[in-house]
């Protein structure tokens, strides 16, 4: 089967009727995908709010389990908040593709002139806006419960803002691989949690180092590096995973 | 005690893995024989 390179069959006329239409650029596709998924998420707000409430509840369980003495709570605070954030993001991962897969819109996305990695990156961005970002914004409130001072809360929010997008990116791979599979949501957790461990270590580690008065810059920059590398590589992996799942 | 515990565990794991493989081949043999018997029976 001779496979020729992508053959351009003349000027692509995607405007309706007026041939002079400028070609719609891929970043436009990215913005459209983010806008589309965010709107869809706000239409079914329930899921988004439930994940947020889950985060708050899980975090407040620990003082009840471990006892109220502040010294201990202050030590475990970063770990508790980060693990709760991890689990909360994990809860909303199936949302990424499942509904589009059921109602057939995922196939429309795959047949869109915009490259699939761009559209998938948009979906990941939208998922972060509705899951990771809200977590990072209300985390300081919970940090107060654990007696963290303002500097530690600042680093906690910074680490969550840098870390949660990576969770959405890696999680998208798991969500795409387990599309349409029975018991998929638990399977996603099993597949993706090992990959979350470096983010957890550097995220929680950042807050611990600032609590110990050390330089937390390294942790945050490593998270930033993960964010950049992830941003450039995971969309392609997720696009491949979607194609595999729809084969 | 610890030394024999370690080497013993490895030996045990190897034995278990090999027996599981043998069982799998036996199961396949039954499947093949059954499918060959069906074929001869209804002689499609």
């Amino acid at each position: 089967m001779k496979s020729a390179p992508d053959v351009a069959l003349g000027p692509v006329q995607s405007g309706k009727g007026d041939p002079g239409e400028a070609e719609v650029a891929p970043e436009q596709g990215f913005m459209r995908a983010i806008a589309r998924d965010t709107r869809l998420a706000f239409r079914s707000k329930g899921e988004v709010i439930q994940a947020l409430v889950f985060f708050v509840v899980v975090v407040s369980l620990f003082p009840l389990a471990i006892g109220p003495e502040t010294a201990l709570l202050k030590r475990i605070a970063p770990g508790v908040v980060w693990v709760a954030a991890l689990l909360s993001v994990l809860l909303t991962l199936p949302r990424l593709f499942a509904s589009d897969y059921q109602d057939g819109t995922l196939e429309q996305l795959m047949l869109s002139p915009f490259p699939l990695p761009v559209m998938v990156a948009g979906k990941m961005g939208a998922h972060w806006l509705v899951s990771g970002l809200p977590l990072a914004l209300i985390a300081p409130l919970l940090g107060l419960q654990f007696g963290l001072d303002s500097r530690e809360l600042g680093v906690l929010v910074a680490s969550l803002i840098l870390g949660t997008p990576i969770l959405s990116m890696l999680g998208a791979i798991g969500a795409a691989l387990t599309l349409g599979v029975r018991g998929g949501s638990i399977l996603v957790a099993l597949l993706i949690l090992p990959l979350y461990i470096p983010v957890l270590i550097f995220g929680a580690g950042a807050v611990e180092t600032v609590a110990a008065g050390l330089d937390y810059g390294a942790n945050l920059s490593l998270l930033g590096a993960g964010l950049l590398i992830g941003g450039l590589t995971t969309p392609f992996a997720v696009a491949a995973a979607v194609k595999i799942s729809l084969d | 005690m610890f030394v024999w515990g370690s080497f013993g565990a490895v030996a045990l794991a190897i034995v278990v893995e090999i027996t599981l493989l043998r069982l799998r081949t036996l199961r396949i043999r039954h499947q093949i024989n059954d499918s060959r018997v069906d074929r001869q029976v209804n002689d499609r």
Binding site: M1, K2, S3, A4, D6, V7, A8, L9, G10, P11, V12, Q13, S14, G15, K16, G17, D18, P19, E21, A22, V24, Q28, G29, R32, R36, R39, L40, R43, S44, S99, Q102, D103, G104, T105, E107, Q108, L109, M110, L111, S112, P113, F114, P115, L116, M119, K243, L246, D247 | -
Partner: protein, 222 residues
């Protein structure tokens, strides 16, 4: 009609499938299947359930990689889901690509945005006209969740009227449509074919299609 303009510009004259074969586990769905479609032609896929109609359409759309065979567009081999094929193919399956959380109007706007239509050309006029033609103008702001299966299918029909791509792959497009809906559907496809478009439709109904259309019977093999 829009699609004829696109077909001419893209020079989409002839689509050819050669030696396609696919099997799902023990079931060989189709073997060494070839066919050719020129502008204005339609191919109707007949066959009982599970005879591979849907799988064939998904192979043509590029989702499913066949065990053997290739697709050609104007004698050039087509990589599945490559940018060229994505600009030429429109595919809709049983689940007719409608988001329940969006209204009829929003669904159509969303579909066109995904289709890469420049935002300037997203004028509601053409969309409202299409909705009017399928009789959903009054319910255009109603969430799709509240519409009946037949009405959702009609949103799909409105979507067809706005599609800019020359080669349509439709899987049971007339499901849940009443007689008048089927009439409307045939009209849309005929206009598409008359405008130089092509279509491959899996359906049980005999289609009142004017253009030259051929049939392909897929046997439900063992």
């Amino acid at each position: 009609m829009a699609s004829s303009a696109v077909a001419r510009d893209l020079g989409a004259d002839e689509f050819r499938a050669e030696g396609l074969s696919l099997s799902r586990g023990p079931r060989g769905l189709f073997k060494d299947l070839s066919f050719q479609l020129r502008r204005g032609e339609a191919l109707i896929l007949r066959g009982a359930n599970g005879s591979g109609k849907t799988s064939l359409l998904r192979v043509l759309a590029g989702f499913t990689t066949p065990d053997a065979g290739a697709l050609f567009w104007n004698q050039q081999c087509l990589k599945p889901l490559a940018i060229t094929s994505r600009r030429l193919l429109f595919y809709v399956a049983h689940a007719n690509a409608i988001k329940d959380e969006l209204s009829a109007l929003e669904n159509l706007q969303d579909a066109l945005r995904i289709d890469g239509v420049a935002s300037a050309a997203l004028s509601p006029a053409t969309i409202l006209h299409a909705l009017d033609r399928v009789g959903l103008l009054s319910q255009r702001h109603l969430l799709a969740r509240k519409l009946s299966q037949g009405q959702k299918r009609r949103i799909g029909l409105a979507r067809l009227m706005l599609v800019d791509k020359p080669f349509w792959l439709l899987d049971e497009p007339t499901n849940a449509l009443d007689a008048e809906g089927v009439e409307l559907f045939a009209g849309i496809v005929n206009r598409h074919l008359a405008g130089g478009g092509m279509a491959c439709i899996a359906s049980h109904l005999t289609m009142p299609l004017q253009g030259t259309s051929s049939e392909l019977k897929l046997r439900a093999s063992a």
